[in-house]
Each structure stands twice: as C-alpha cells, then as structure tokens.
C-alpha cells in the first residue's frame, strides 16, 4: 500500500476538480495505477478526510461534495461489516458500482487525451486556406409549376373582385345646383338675350363642357318655371338664348 496523498494539497485545489467523481478518480490514481484492484474502503476514507479538512477551512462547500461524502459514509459502514450479512452484500455491490463508474470516467479521460493528442484541423494541420469555387450557378431557367400558376390566378381574381379594381380618377362635373347659383348670381348683370353658354364656367374637357351645358339648361328651365328667366331657341339644335324674366310664367 502506498501512502495516501496529503489531503491538504488536494484541499487547496478542490476547485480544480470537476465534481466528487473527478476527485475520487484522482485519489484512486494516486493510490494505485490498477483501478480494478484499488481498495474502495481506503478510497472512501481518503475522500472523507479531504472533505473533512475542507469543511474546517471553508464552510461553503458545494452540495455535490457533501452528498457524495454522505453516501460514502454509508458505504464505509457497510464495507466494515463482517462478510455474509445482507448489509455487507449491499456494501460490496455499491463498491463495485463505484469502481465501475470510476473505470468509465477513466476511460473517457483517456479517450479525451487520445483525441487531444491527434493532429487537429486548424491547430496542427490545415486545409487549403483560399479554396477555389469551381461551381457555377445557372439561374437562366425558370421554375414554373401548375399549382403556383393556379394559386396566382386565384389571388389575382380575389383581388380584382374585391372592388380594388382600377378606376380612372372621377371627373368633377358642374351640377345643377352649381348652375342655379351661378345663373341667379349673374342675372342682374345680363340685360338682354344671351347665349346659355355665357352662363357656363370654363370647362377643361369636352365631357365636362357637355355636362355643364346640360346642368345650366336644367337650371335655366327651373328658373323659367318660376318666371325668373325666359328661354328661347330659334331652331332644332340651335343656340339656346336666355334673358331675365318678368314673372310671367305663361310666355314660352
């Protein structure tokens, strides 16, 4: 049996261990190389000594360390029992499980070392630093399929029938109301027969002009009905003349 490592030296580097299993493995490795033949009991005692020492110095030990300590205390009590009892069997089984876990961790640690020792890409070996791209992208072809065409058609129809369809900007027409106001306003300043066109506003388009013509005619007829104006037309399609009326409704 080799002498166990100085617990104080381990205590100083407790933070360096990745959990209780890591510490146990380190203790086992310092005890004997052959993990299969280590004395679990002696390992348990070493761990408990380390933790006990650590608690004296630092009270705020991580829960992991203490849970493992509690379990190992239980294991130690079983391992100390004489052989043959059921409790001693339990202890032996638990010791086997612990040994197996340590071996598994040992294997993983060895695997990590094996991996780390390999020439690593980007660390020890390098691939081409400036690779050439020998692929060309041809986007000349069209990806067309019938479902997409039909979907597009339905979307178009839906939009078209939603009243959002294209309409020309509405034209401002000269209303009868507008024409009435204008006629009444101009009446006093027109002494004799004048063409209906003289009472029309300036129109921008022929359509607007025709609209204004009919509105003014309607307004003139309305005023003629109450005798305020008199209307006259010499021939079919000829110019319509208008003058101020005298209240006589009967005159044509």
């Amino acid at each position: 049996m080799q002498t166990p490592p100085d617990p104080d030296s381990l205590l100083l580097s407790l933070d360096g261990f990745e959990g209780p299993l890591d510490l146990l493995l380190e203790l086992a490795r310092s005890q004997k190389l052959d993990l299969a033949r280590i004395s679990i009991l002696s390992l348990v005692e070493q761990y408990l000594t380390v933790i006990e020492g650590a608690r004296r110095v630092r009270l705020e030990l991580a829960a992991d360390w203490l849970v493992m300590a509690a379990w190992l205390t239980w294991l130690k009590s079983r391992l100390l029992l004489p052989h043959g009892s059921q409790a001693a069997e339990e202890g032996a089984d638990a010791a086997d499980v612990l040994a197996a876990r340590l071996r598994a961790l040992q294997a993983i640690r060895a695997a990590a070392l094996w991996l780390g020792a390999r020439p690593q890409l980007g660390h020890d070996v390098f691939v081409r630093g400036a690779p050439e791209d020998l692929t060309q992208t041809d986007r000349s072809r069209l990806a067309l399929d019938m479902p997409a065409l039909l979907r597009a058609y339905l979307v178009a129809l839906k939009r078209g029938t939603k009243g959002k369809r294209y309409r020309p900007a509405p034209t401002a027409f000269w209303t009868v109301k507008d024409a009435l106001a204008r006629l009444q306003g101009m009446m006093g300043s027109v002494p004799d027969w004048s063409s209906l066109e003289a009472f029309m506003p300036v129109s921008e388009t022929p359509l607007q002009r025709r609209g204004a013509m009919s509105s003014t005619l309607l307004a003139g007829l309305e005023l003629a009905r109450s005798g305020l104006v008199r209307l006259r037309q010499e021939e079919a399609f000829g110019p319509i003349m208008l003058r101020q009326g005298d209240g006589d409704v009967t005159e044509q």
Partner: protein
C-alpha cells in the same frame, strides 16, 4: 569554421538551410494553408535564417509546372490555382431555376385563362396596375406573345400564351389546364368575356403547338 559563426550558428542549422526538399515542404504547406498569396517576404519569416525565399518559390513553381494545380503569381504573392484546362473539366454548373415574381405569375395566369386579352383587361382582372417590366419579363421568357390588336379605341395589343408556355408547364394543350369553374367555388363578377371558357379561346388564335 569559426569565420562563418556570425551567419550560421550550428552545423545542424547550416544543413537545414541547404536542404532544398525540406524548404520546399515548408513553402508548399504555407502556400497551401495561407488565405492570401504568399509573398517572398512572408515566406522568409517562416523559412530558416539564410534561406533564399525567392529561390524556394521559384523551385516550387517549377515543381508544380504542368500539374493539376499550379503555383501562380497573384498581386505580388504566390498561390495555388487549378490548372486552367482542368478548371473547365471540374467546374460544375448548378442549375438554380428562378421563380417568377408574383405579379408576373398572376399576369401569366390571367393571359392563359383569358387570352387573347389586352393589358387594360389584365389590370381590370388583377385589380392592380401592370408594370411594363412585368410584361417584358414574360415576353423575354417567351411565355406570352402578341396576338393582334383589339378593334376598340386605341387598338390595344392582345396577348396570348406561346408553345413555350405549354412546354414549361408540361402541357400538350391549353385544354389540359383546369377549367375556371373547377377552380372557383363562387364565380367572381363576370368580366369582359363572361360566358367564354378561357381555355377554349385559343382555338381562334394561332396554333399554340410548336
């Protein structure tokens, strides 16, 4: 021997300087791994003291002459490049078909179902203005073609689909397209040609089959 002690420290290093294959290995690895062309100056910093970087690079160029990759000078440095005759052989053309923009797809669908159809009619059906670029892209792709003019004021161009359209969609005939009635659960407000089944319209148009 002691005279040359200023430039060459030990006999072992002197041997290293003179060993051209070893220098070529270093230059080769560096030119390969470097992300930028390797200048003689950069190589000189890696080679043992006393080695002639220019000479090493020249030897490396000679070693790779006529091979599948060659060391070529790029902007004052040296870099491995695929031999031009092999670049053609190794270049893979990856077909990435384009999708038509949504507006073009809708326009194409309307032309297919309503042909022969004018641009204002397309706008009326879509409920949106039709950009000239959209029409142009369909023309360029050879999917639509003019089919005469409509005898209405302004005599607008009538549009129809092409044999290329049928080929692109894997159709033998426009009649293979689903009928409008099959597509629509509720018939939308009838447009300029209400009772017509659009798929049958091309009968009077030029033959679609190529």
């Amino acid at each position: 021997m002691s005279q040359s002690s200023e430039t060459v420290d030990t006999p072992a290093e002197a041997a290293e300087v003179l060993d051209m294959p070893a220098l070529l290995r270093i230059a080769e690895a560096m030119a390969f791994a470097s992300t930028v062309p390797v200048t003689p100056r950069a190589l000189g910093q890696v080679l043992p003291v006393g080695a002639d970087a220019d000479a090493v690079l020249a030897a490396l160029v000679a070693q790779y002459a006529g091979r599948g990759v060659e060391l070529v000078e790029i902007g004052g440095g040296w870099q491995f490049r695929t031999a031009p005759d092999l670049a053609k052989l190794l270049t893979k053309v990856v077909q990435v078909p384009r999708r038509l923009p949504r507006a073009a797809m809708e326009t194409l669908a309307i032309v297919a179902y309503h042909q022969p159809v004018t641009r204002p009619e397309i706008e009326e059906i879509r409920g949106a203005a039709l950009a000239q670029t959209t029409l142009d892209s369909l023309l360029e792709a050879g999917l639509i073609t003019p089919r005469g003019r409509k005898e209405t004021p302004g005599r607008p161009t009538l549009w129809g689909t092409t044999p290329q359209f049928l080929a692109q969609f894997g159709l033998t005939d426009l009649k293979d397209m689903p009928r409008r009635e099959e597509l629509l659960v509720e018939t939308p407000s009838p447009l300029s040609q209400p009772e017509e089944t659009p798929a049958e319209t091309p009968d009077e148009a030029p033959e679609p089959q190529g």
